[in-house]
C-alpha cells in the first residue's frame, strides 16, 4: 500500500502552500484529461524526492523561446515546480557554472543515470555538411543529440524547432535544419511544437512521465494527444462566425471590429492542431492568445504551415468542413410579431377540439355502457 505523503516538505521545498500545490496538480491532471485520482498520484510523485528524474537539456538552433516561455509562466511557482520536480543536471541557459565544468557534470550525469534520464531537446539540428553549423563546446549539435539520445529514458522535443525544424528549416534552409524526430529515427520522440510552445503542454507531459514512468499517448507526429488532438478551429470561440459566414476581410474593417472569423485574413486555425483556444497564453485570462486579440493564427506549431505558408495571403486548407459559398441570412430577432389572429384561432380550435372530443367520447361511452347493461 502506498503511504500517504505529507506535503509539508513540498511547502518548504517549493515555497507554495499545500492548497496551491494540489490545485496545480489537479489542473494539470484535468488538462491531460485524467481523473482527480491522477492528480493525487502526481502530487505524490512530485512530493517523493526519489522520483525526480535527472534531466539533460540541449539547445540547438533557436531563440531559447521555449525556455523563456517556461520561465515566465505565471502559474503558481511553475518555475519552482519544474526545477524541483526534476533534477536539472544540464541546461545551457540556466546553468550557473560554465565552460569545462558544466560539460563535465553533463557527461558524469549521463554516465551515472544511464537509461534513466529525461532528454529535452530545444532548437533545430542542422545536418548539412555533417552538422558543422551548430557547435557547443567544440562538438556539433548533431553528435551531441545522438550521444545524449543513446541512453535516454525518454526524449522530448520542446518547441517547433526541435519538433520539425521551425523557422530555421524555412526555405531555403541553408544549414539543413531538421527536428529531433528526423535525426533520431529509431527512437520515440515526444514533440511539443509551438513558437513558443505553451509551457502547460510541457509541464503536463513531464508530470505524466514522472507519475507513471511512461509517456502519454502520442499521435503520428509524436505530439501528446491530450494537447494536440484537436484543431485550433474546432475549439475556437470565433467558430460560430465561420459557420455563419461572417468574416473579417481586412484588418480594422467592420467585421474585424465585431470579432468575426479571421479565416479570410489567412488564419491557419483550420489546419493547425493545438490547444491554444482552451489554454490561451500567459495565464492572464481574458482571451489572451493570437486569435483572441484579433490576429489570425499562423500555424506556428504545424509542420508545413508555420514559416511555410504566407501569413495573410494564403487561405488555410480547412481540415473539417469547408465553408459553403452561400449562407442563409441571419437576422437578429428579439421578439416575434406577437399573437396573430390565425395563430390564436388555431390554438383555440386545437384545445377546444380536444376538450370537445373528450366530452363527446365520455357521453358515447356512457351510452354504450347503458346499452350493454
Amino acid at each position: 500500500m502506498e503511504i500517504e505523503l505529507d506535503y509539508s516538505s513540498i511547502e518548504k521545498r517549493l515555497g507554495v502552500t499545500r492548497r496551491t500545490f494540489l490545485k496545480f496538480c489537479t489542473g494539470v491532471a484535468a488538462s491531460l484529461g485524467l481523473s482527480s485520482q491522477s492528480a493525487i498520484a502526481m502530487a505524490n510523485a512530485i512530493a517523493d524526492p526519489k522520483k525526480r528524474p535527472p534531466v539533460i537539456w540541449l539547445h540547438g538552433q533557436e531563440c531559447t523561446g521555449p525556455t523563456e516561455s517556461l520561465l515566465r509562466s505565471e502559474q503558481p511557482s511553475m518555475e519552482h515546480l519544474i526545477l524541483d520536480l526534476i533534477s536539472l543536471d544540464y541546461h545551457q541557459t540556466l546553468d550557473a557554472g560554465a565552460g569545462h565544468s558544466v560539460e563535465h557534470i553533463k557527461k558524469q550525469s549521463m554516465l551515472e543515470n544511464k537509461g534513466k534520464y529525461l532528454l529535452v531537446i530545444e532548437g533545430a539540428i542542422p545536418i548539412k555538411d555533417k552538422g558543422i553549423y551548430c557547435k557547443i563546446a567544440g562538438e556539433t549539435m548533431l553528435d551531441l543529440t545522438l550521444e545524449a539520445a543513446e541512453h535516454a529514458a525518454a526524449i522530448v522535443a520542446f518547441g517547433s524547432c526541435a519538433s520539425w525544424g521551425g523557422v530555421q528549416s524555412a526555405s531555403p534552409n541553408p544549414t539543413g535544419a531538421t527536428g529531433a524526430p528526423q535525426v533520431l529515427k529509431d527512437k520515440t520522440v515526444v514533440t511539443i511544437p509551438g513558437c513558443p510552445p505553451n509551457p502547460a503542454n510541457f509541464i503536463g507531459t513531464v508530470l505524466y512521465f514522472v507519475t507513471y514512468g511512461k509517456l502519454p499517448p502520442i499521435d503520428a507526429e509524436g505530439r501528446p494527444k491530450w494537447a494536440y488532438g484537436r484543431l485550433v478551429h474546432e475549439n475556437c470561440y470565433r467558430r460560430p462566425h465561420f459557420d455563419a459566414g461572417r468574416f473579417a476581410t481586412e484588418f480594422g474593417d467592420d467585421g474585424h471590429k465585431k470579432g468575426y472569423c479571421l479565416y479570410k485574413l489567412g488564419c491557419k486555425g483550420p489546419e493547425t492542431y493545438n490547444n491554444c483556444p482552451s489554454l490561451e497564453y500567459n495565464n492572464v485570462g481574458g482571451n489572451v492568445w493570437p486569435i483572441g486579440v484579433g490576429h489570425p493564427c499562423f500555424g506556428c506549431s504545424e509542420k508545413g504551415v508555420g514559416f511555410e505558408k504566407a501569413m495573410f495571403n494564403e487561405l488555410s486548407d480547412v481540415k473539417t468542413h469547408t465553408p459553403p459559398n452561400m449562407f442563409p441570412a441571419i437576422e437578429v430577432r428579439e421578439s416575434s410579431s406577437g399573437i396573430s389572429t390565425g395563430a390564436a384561432a388555431l390554438t383555440g380550435v386545437a384545445i377546444g377540439a380536444a376538450v370537445g372530443a373528450t366530452a363527446m367520447g365520455a357521453r358515447k361511452l356512457d351510452q354504450q355502457e347503458k346499452d350493454q347493461s
Binding site: D243, P328, A329, E331, V332, R333, E334, S335, S336, S337, G338, I339, S340, G342, A343, L346, T347, A350, A354, V355, T358, G361, A362, R363, K364, L365, D366, Q368, E369, Q372
Partner: protein, 380 residues
C-alpha cells in the same frame, strides 16, 4: 391463431379525410421551413430557441408516447399479464409518437444536416443532457419498432423470423423499460441546465428528473386509457373499462406521489408563497395542480372509476396536467431575459398539427390493416 386481429374496414372515412387535409396544409409549411429556413415559418427567436416544435412535439409528444413504457412496466415488470391486450396498440402509439417526436425535433434544428454527428462516438460529449436524450430516443425508436415487429411479421406470415424475434423479445422489452426511464428523466434534467431562465416554481433544484419521470408515467397510463376509450367509441368495440379500472391503484399511487413531491419540494425550498403571488405563474401552477388533483378525486371513488366516461375524463385531465407542467416550465413561464417574447405563428402550429394528424392517420391505417387490437372475447 393470433390473439390479435386487424380491424379491417374502410380507410378513407370522413375523419380520416379531415386529418388528411390538416396534414396537407402542414406539409406545405414543412416544405417551406426546409426551403426558406426557420425564420420564414416560425416565430422562434434568440431568446426562445425552443418553441412548440420542441416543447409539444418532443417534450410533451414523447410523454404522450409513454403508453408502451407504462404498460411494459405493468405487464413485464410487475407481471400483470391481464393487461396484455392493451400492449400492442400502446406500443404502436408509442412508436408513432416517438418517431414523430424525433421528426419534430428535426424542424427545430438549425443545422439539421449535421444531425448524423450524434451517431459518431468520437464526437460524444458525455456531459451533455441533450446527447443522452438524443441518443436514448434514437435507440428507443428502434427498440419500439422491434417490439412492434411481431404484428407485421404475423401479417405477412413470416413465422420463422417471428419465432427467433420472440426469443430475444424479453431483452428488447427490458431495454424498452430502461431507455424511457433514462431519457424521460433527462428531459427533466434539461430544465436544470436552463438555470435561472426557468421560473422558480418549476426550477425545483434537482427534483425535475423525478417529476418528469412520474408525470411521464402518469401520461403513459392516461394515453392507454384514452386510446382504449377512443377505440371503444370510434370503432364501436366493447369498452375495456373493467380492465382499465384495475390500473387505478397504480395511477393513484403515481398521482399522489407526484403531488406530494411537487408540494413538498416547494415547501422545503421555501417557494410555497410564490403559488399565491397572484401572477401568471401562480395561476398556471394552480391550474396544473387542479388538473392533477381532479383525476385523483375521480379514481379514488371505485364507483366513478368503473365508468368509462369518468375514466376518459380523468385520463384527459392527466394528459393536460402533464402537458401543462411541461409547457409551463419550458415555454409559458420561461424567461430568457428582457426583450424576448414568443407565441407560435400559425404556420408553426400547422406544422405541429400536421405531424399529429399524420400520426393519427398512420395509427388508423395500421390498426385496420395489421393485427394490433386484441381479438374481442365475444367474437370467439
Amino acid at each position: 391463431m393470433s390473439a390479435h386481429q386487424a380491424l379491417g374496414g374502410r380507410i378513407f372515412t370522413k375523419p380520416f379525410l379531415v386529418l388528411l387535409l390538416i396534414f396537407v396544409v402542414g406539409l406545405v409549411f414543412m416544405v417551406e421551413r426546409f426551403s426558406s429556413g426557420m425564420g420564414a415559418v416560425s416565430n422562434l427567436n434568440g431568446g426562445f430557441a425552443w418553441g412548440i416544435w420542441v416543447v409539444f412535439d418532443v417534450v410533451v409528444g414523447t410523454a404522450f408516447a409513454c403508453g408502451g413504457y407504462a404498460l411494459a412496466f405493468m405487464v413485464y415488470v410487475f407481471n400483470k399479464g391481464q393487461y396484455h391486450p392493451l400492449v400492442r396498440p400502446a406500443v404502436l402509439a408509442s412508436l408513432l409518437g416517438y418517431a414523430l417526436g424525433g421528426f419534430g425535433a428535426f424542424f427545430d434544428m438549425g443545422r439539421f444536416w449535421q444531425f448524423y454527428e450524434i451517431f459518431i462516438p468520437g464526437n460524444w460529449n458525455f456531459n451533455s443532457v441533450m446527447l443522452e436524450v438524443g441518443l436514448c430516443v434514437a435507440v428507443y425508436i428502434i427498440i419500439l419498432a422491434l417490439e412492434f415487429a411481431p404484428a407485421v411479421l404475423e401479417k405477412f406470415g413470416m413465422h420463422g423470423l417471428l419465432k427467433s424475434l420472440n426469443k430475444v423479445l424479453f431483452f428488447l422489452i427490458a431495454l424498452g423499460v430502461l431507455l424511457p426511464t433514462m431519457h424521460q428523466s433527462s428531459l427533466g434534467s434539461l430544465l436544470i441546465a436552463m438555470g435561472h431562465k426557468v421560473h422558480p416554481l418549476w426550477q425545483v433544484d434537482h427534483m425535475q428528473p423525478v417529476l418528469a419521470l412520474i408525470s411521464a408515467l402518469i401520461m403513459g397510463f392516461s394515453i392507454v386509457i384514452f386510446e382504449a376509450s377512443t377505440s371503444a367509441v370510434g370503432f364501436s368495440r366493447k369498452s375495456e373499462a373493467s380492465l382499465l379500472a384495475k390500473m387505478r391503484q397504480v395511477i393513484i399511487g403515481l398521482l399522489s406521489t407526484f403531488l406530494i413531491v411537487r408540494l413538498l419540494v416547494l415547501l422545503v425550498q421555501g417557494k410555497l408563497g410564490l403559488i399565491f403571488a397572484a401572477d401568471f405563474a401562480s395561476l398556471m401552477i394552480l391550474l396544473e395542480t387542479a388538473l392533477f388533483a381532479i383525476p385523483l378525486v375521480i379514481l379514488l371513488s371505485p364507483e366513478r372509476s368503473s365508468r368509462g366516461s369518468q375514466l376518459l375524463i380523468a385520463a384527459m385531465c392527466m394528459l393536460m396536467a402533464g402537458s401543462l407542467y411541461r409547457f409551463d416550465a419550458f415555454l409559458l413561464t420561461f424567461n430568457p431575459g428582457p426583450g424576448y417574447s414568443y407565441f407560435p405563428s400559425a404556420a408553426e402550429i400547422m406544422i405541429t398539427l400536421g405531424v399529429v394528424a399524420f400520426e393519427i392517420m398512420a395509427y388508423l391505417i395500421l390498426v385496420k390493416t395489421l393485427p394490433v387490437l386484441h381479438r374481442e372475447e365475444r367474437a370467439l
